[in-house]
């Protein structure tokens, strides 16, 4: 068995395999629903209805998509340069910590001055979190997959310490949670009366900016070159080490912004369940988007819709909401499998 390149793949050839992958994912979801003893079509219907079936559902999906756009961008930017950042979870939490640190009264400025500072500080916190592993990768040859993964555990324990110690809300009835942000530190709603905050708009802007950087700047070109072939890039005079470090800063700050947006836009304080794995789900988002920054927005909406829809479905039908996680993990693997078929054909010889 081997793969044979196709010289000029047609549009159908390029879109067919990923579409087939999503089709198979839907069939797989129906099979799972059937295993769980429910009516497959009804379950699918309930998921769609729960995701986009009402104004409330739609807003819930948009809210859930917001952090996923940020973490998806963080992963997409890093993976494009072959920097395996699996630590978006840690970067998100430290972004959130800094937001709470500065936003609970330490800086009592008016909102137009405070919010940008909080956002920048959170981005910086996320960026610095990834800088360590990226530095160890470029300088010492330490594999960043394991270091970023292990940092997730360390940072979560650190946040747990903060929430039970120095950052604990004295009025929190003993729960490990931080004090609430002051009113000036809260991201306002985009439209008064609709439960959707400016974090969503910020995420969309970030996606467009990342896209512009990747396609319209020398730095973006260098990032892609390093990811494509680091040796060739170095030979062509691209400073691979600094490009990798700069990529880490960009990726980490995007994940840090996810923490800022969740705390300042949605929750208002920091708890240990701020992120139900947004950092890890960001990997799925980025891969489903084929690492394209604008695709990340679409993929994040899709993934958020599946999660929100499955939550709502599991309340109505006797199917565990973990069906969403299974569906998305299999979608990830199937899309990755489908990609070579857009450029190669299989030869059984």
């Amino acid at each position: 068995m081997r793969l044979e390149p196709i010289p000029n793949p047609t549009l159908g050839r390029r879109l067919g395999p990923p579409a087939a992958a999503l089709g198979v994912t839907v069939l797989f979801a129906m099979a799972l629903a059937w295993v769980a003893g429910a009516d497959p079509l009804a379950v699918l219907g309930l998921i769609v209805k729960g995701a986009v079936g009402s104004k409330f559902a739609l807003l819930e999906t948009l809210n859930r998509a917001t952090p996923l756009i940020f973490t998806g961008l963080a992963v997409a930017v890093a993976f494009r340069a072959k920097l395996w950042n699996i630590g978006a979870e840690a970067q998100l939490y430290l972004g959130a910590v800094v937001t709470v640190l500065l936003g609970t009264g330490a800086l009592s400025w008016p909102a137009p001055a405070l919010l940008p500072v909080l956002g920048l500080a959170a981005a910086l916190a996320g960026a610095l979190t990834l800088l360590g592993p990226a530095w160890a990768k470029t300088r010492l040859g330490v594999d960043e997959v394991v270091t970023t993964l292990l940092l997730n555990f360390i940072v979560l324990l650190f946040v747990s310490y903060l929430l039970e110690g120095p950052m604990k809300d004295p009025m929190g009835m003993g729960w490990p949670k931080s004090r609430r942000l002051i009113a000036e530190a809260r991201l306002p709603r985009i439209v008064e009366g609709l439960r959707l905050h400016w974090g969503f708009a910020l995420a969309l802007i970030a996606a467009v900016l990342v896209w512009l950087v990747q396609t319209r700047t020398t730095f973006g070109y260098a990032m892609r070159a390093v990811g494509h072939n680091a040796r060739a890039a170095r030979f062509a005079g691209i400073p691979v080490t600094s490009v990798t470090l700069a990529t880490a800063l960009l990726s980490g700050s995007l994940a840090g912004l996810a923490g800022f947006s969740e705390v300042a836009g949605l929750k208002g304080n920091l708890t240990l369940d701020l992120s139900p794995g947004f950092g890890y789900t960001g990997i799925i988002v980025a891969m489903l988007a084929l690492l394209h920054p604008l695709g990340v927005v679409v993929a994040a909406l899709f993934v958020a819709g599946i999660f929100v829809g499955a939550d709502s479905m599991s309340r109505a039908a006797e199917v565990p909401s973990y069906i969403a996680d299974m569906l998305l993990a299999s979608a990830l693997l199937l899309v990755v499998l489908a990609l070579p078929f857009t450029r190669f054909r299989l030869r059984w010889r």
């Binding site: 793969l3 292990l150 360390i154 324990l157 110690g165 299974m326 993990a329 499998l337």
Partner: protein, 315 residues
Amino acid sequence: MMEILDILVSATFWTAVIRIMSPLLFATMGELICERAGVLNLGIEGIMVVGAFAGWMAVYSGLGLWPGVAVAMLSGMAFGLLHSTLTVPFGLSQHVVGLGVTLLATAATYFTYRLALPQVSSPPRIQPFTEWPVPVLSEIPVIGPAVFSQTPLTYLAYAVAALTAWVLYRTPLGLALRAAGENPAAVEAQGLSVVALRMGAVILGSGLMAVGGAFLTMSAFNSFFFEMVNGRGWICIALVVFGAWRPGKAALGALLFAAFDALQIRLQQTGLGQHVPYQVFLMLPYALSILALVVMSRRAEVPAALMVPFNKGAR
């Protein structure tokens, strides 16, 4: 300081060390086999979750303990088959596939758990493996109770580590496996199939990871709960690097790590624990793993073809 010494000379401490080491030994050997054949298996974390659940569930539904271990191993091998099919013949990114396998295996476990036990708040316990002291050897002071008064699964872990070292360095199969991770073209020139060797290594290695997970439910905690693997898989990947891809050194790393982990648990109960937040103690094993990676990565001899897909006929 005296407190630490007291801990270090106590037999119960070393018994705990060996118990903490056992699951790591299985999974580290599993990962090492995959990586020596040239495949990084990031599915390890999820495969350990699957193994922990499958073994426990099998025993809970009435199977014996050893059949339960077999079920765990088979479930791990199934995910190993998935991983290796995607990464070896198709040559897809080992990073992405591995993470995907971890996410899928974890989700599949939680989904099945909720389906099988929809209403339980605390998971049921099973009758686990019991200690089986080796005659004579278990009477050696300190070492005896620690090393030779464990459950049979721990003895199996010793055997797996020894067997891994023996097969890798003393048999033609081991030579072929290592060569597949160093110079796959040479293996193919000898008329052996790189695809078969690598897939076999990943499937077998994944089976061992799952048994490591099963140790947690069948010999340590007697029950299954979410998040129980808690990064152990990632730590095993660090241990393989720490051990410079050699079974003996990796086993030593697992022992050191386990000793450190057991020590931090005990230190929490000493005077030190009253001044230092418990989260700091819990962080130490992860921090130590990162430190070990940083120190060892500089001079480690990485298998030359690790993470390089083999494409027959390509130059």
